[in-house]
Symmetry: C2
Subunit: 214 residues, 2 copies
DNA sequence: GTCTATACACCGATAGAC
DNA sequence: GTCTATCGGTGTATAGAC
């Protein structure tokens, strides 16, 4: 059983990434904590960047089937869902990531944000290749909920949505501290998700065209 | 006139950051292009992190007075503005950044995002200390436009908004390429701003409370 | 004060022996 | 698969010259 090394690296890396961020987590720190040799990271993963991607893929592999399932329910339903229902069905898959791993939801979205901005299309290609069908179901469901939205506008608004979620989660620790000290409100990831969903929903469902000033 | 060194570093750094990103722009690259000594960066700015902040501050110093002016107009107006009008008044200040510098708008928002996620509160403190009055005016205007929104909900929704804009701009180059190839739509920064404003506006103006599913 | 040369500790990556 | 040794590169610190 020598595959253990690869998993040891993966688990240790994920824990340290969550604790210290990506740049502050060196390969030497990971390998010393995992009790493996420094060079084994490059042997098993190729590079630090690919290690980060490997950590992300474990999440995607757990997340996407749950989304697929939720979207299928909407597609099988006789009547078209409204946007509220579509977005509400993301809460469970997102929170499920928090169940399989401590800070899993924030970690997942952090990795997603990193992957989306850093690499030039690598992550996007991986997602479309492996979960293209799920993405397509999602687009179909949104289209049923808001038929007037053109494909290109949907493209942009879904990326706005991704951006909102990713940025919020990336800075959620800091923001939650501020909210707690300035407004005396303790917010956990779960309640944050329920705070952001109405925002996203309204954004995607916004009237089409430029702002009207009256 | 020996202040030239500091400005040379600042200008060169900004150009290279825009061209190659932050991590791919080493201090040695900056100083060699600027034709100054490596150590002068630390002498004038203290660290690379603080150099990035210094670049950002030049933008903030240009941006915030324009926002202040726009908010003052709303405050001086006899009747309360609606959210559309409030958000529309951000277009001009944002696009003004593109006039004073090529890719200035994207650069500004990129720096802002970097500053917000990286450092723990440094940038936030700088903004509140130097532009607290402007931020306050903005909050007042939003409050006039949507009085039912509680302070803590406004806090969250404005940060969602910041996240949307920052993430979109951070990945705008890649996203615009995709939009162009997949939907044949050429999008520049200006039209992107007009695409995102309705989304933000609807998000901030979303009904209060959790999603209602019917 | 401003600038320079230089050293330091650390980083990710890799070639090659085992 | 694993390991050692080493490479070129990074941000940072400092002693000392102008």
């Amino acid at each position: 059983m020598r595959i253990a090394t690869k998993d040891k690296i993966l688990n240790t890396a994920e824990r340290l990434f969550a604790e210290r961020g990506f740049t502050d987590t060196s390969l030497r720190l990971i390998t010393s904590h995992a009790d493996v040799n420094l060079a084994s990271v490059n042997y098993h993963f190729g590079s630090k960047k690919e290690l980060i991607q490997a950590v992300l893929r474990r999440y995607l592999d757990a997340f996407m089937p749950l989304v697929d399932e939720a979207m299928q329910v909407h597609l099988d339903s006789a009547e078209a869902p409204n946007l509220n229902q579509v977005f509400a069905s993301f809460a469970k898959p997102l929170l499920e990531m928090n169940r399989i791993q401590q800070h899993g939801t924030a970690m997942f979205l952090l990795l997603l944000g990193r992957g989306y901005t850093d690499e030039q299309g690598h992550l996007r290609r991986y997602i479309t290749q492996n979960f293209g069908q799920t993405i397509d179901k999602f687009r179909q469901v949104v289209s049923r909920a808001y038929p007037e939205l053109s494909p290109v506008d949907m493209f942009w608004r879904l990326h706005f949505t991704l951006g909102t979620v990713i940025f919020t989660m990336a800075s959620s620790a800091a923001l939650r501290d501020i909210a707690a000290s300035d407004y005396g409100e303790k917010v956990n990831i779960e309640s944050l998700i329920y705070k952001v969903l109405p925002y996203l929903c309204a954004g995607v469902g916004a009237p089409i065209g430029p702002l009207t000033l009256d």
